[in-house]
Subunit: 274 residues, 2 copies
């Protein structure tokens, strides 16, 4: 039985499965959409990963990830741009719906977040011609403000959409409930993104209270405080009807459980909570 509308970001089971085993485990439970990370694809090889995707008619809801643009020197910034161009090629080879972009935080020693944000805008502008030529949409993912220092200085949907508007065609957003649920402006900004056809991906998990680790304590849908049904309603009202992609980093809980149990829980929660 197919589980329509559900995608598994393979980071959710990264401690349990490599790419091929993850796909097998998903297919065994009827899940036909995935989103891999680059290291997972690299481990098996891009052509083999692409073969598995095609042979099983999988939907790839995103390829994770490009970006990380800010750097102290031009060499570092150019390297990030080149790396993101390679990520575009990989995403195209996999037939992904989009390449997910994580902006990057402050360069080492910097306290100038405005400068870092300018580097992100410059980096995106530099890769966009290649993305457009490859017909690969680029999805800026605003990350929670607690990552502004070290992972992403794009921290609200409004900010990401302002970037999109400045960059033009070929770029949109990945909306992750974990990063954006707290935002008092999230509903009007989702509607804005919908009007401009800029929603490229919808990531789900939950915000736990308490949260014990800034990076690796994301919750399973239903275990936290996010109103996932309302979020889904807002995103569907805005015109995006693609799969909801489960992305859970959980070093002390879900990464320690059997992968099949994690996937079964994702399905059960998706059906009842989301």
């Amino acid at each position: 039985m197919s589980v329509k509308g559900l995608s598994i970001n393979l980071a959710t089971v990264r401690q349990q499965f490599g790419f091929a085993a993850a796909v097998d485990a998903c297919l065994a439970q009827g899940i036909t959409a995935i989103s891999p990370w680059r290291d997972q694809v690299e481990a098996i090889g891009l052509s083999e990963a692409a073969r598995i995707v095609k042979a099983n008619s999988l939907q790839v809801t995103g390829h994770c990830r490009g970006g990380m643009f800010p750097a102290n020197d031009k060499g570092g910034r150019d390297a990030a741009i080149d790396d993101s161009k390679r990520a575009i090629d990989e995403a195209a080879a996999l037939g992904a719906d989009c390449l997910v972009m994580v902006a990057g935080g402050l360069p080492a020693g910097s306290k100038d977040i405005a400068a870092a944000r300018a580097m992100v805008a410059d980096g995106l502008a530099a890769i966009l011609p290649h993305a457009r030529a490859c017909h690969m949409p680029v999805a800026i993912e605003p990350l929670h403000p607690m990552y502004a220092g070290d992972r992403a200085c794009v921290n609200t949907l409004e900010q990401a959409l302002d970037l999109c508007d400045a960059l033009g065609a070929g770029v949109g957003v990945a909306i992750d409930v974990y990063h954006t649920w707290w935002d008092p402006k999230i509903r009007p900004q989702i509607a804005r993104a919908g009007r401009n056809k800029q929603i490229l991906a919808h990531h789900i998990c939950d915000w736990l209270v308490p949260t014990r680790d800034l990076l690796l304590d994301r919750g399973m849908m239903g275990d936290g405080v996010i109103d996932l049904k309302r979020f889904r309603g807002d995103i569907e009202d805005a015109g995006f009807h693609g799969p909801q992609e489960v992305e859970i980093f959980s070093s002390e809980n879900w990464w320690k459980r059997p992968g099949a149990e994690v996937l079964a829980t994702c399905i059960e929660r998706f059906r009842t909570i989301c």
Copy 2:
């Protein structure tokens, strides 16, 4: 020698000192502005705390704190309102510049952040007549989005100022760099707050990379990634020239050091970094 322009939030040395000892330690190093927490005042008694403040001509840059308005039942919401009214009376007795308000997060079991925000607005409206009668300004402190679930559902300066505008006279904001440094709209919103004379307090510390705990790993000024001089410039350009108040919760570092060392470090960093 007096340290002009520096205030110590007594949470910064709460593991080392009670109220009276904290004041003595501050005065010994020339610090003449403080901001106490209610439990610290309660431990020594309000009248004795007020006597110490007056006898030493201390500036009380804020009294911490009122708020925590959302609750599942009316009894709980009324209790929070009554508690905040008592906090107004205490702040007035201490001659504080303002009563700092922490909004409160989601009631237990709730996933409705919009409803929690409405409860905050209602709670503030309910206490404002008493605050105005006591001539005690109420300072809404937007807290970092990572506290939206359990501590405060007011998470950006823009949101706090929208609340202020709706509530009218007698209410403003406490701007803490820790909670707001990441915000792409912080500079225009500080300017907006200045135009409307709504800045009541300026709290400082630093954002550490990495941050190891969501609540108790704030950094000493200069040890993190916040551009404190620029922040101060923006706030002074907006017309606020009150003391910068150091508020550091640091269970594994500063709370374990001798209080006099912590205060000396605050002074040295204030002079060189802020």
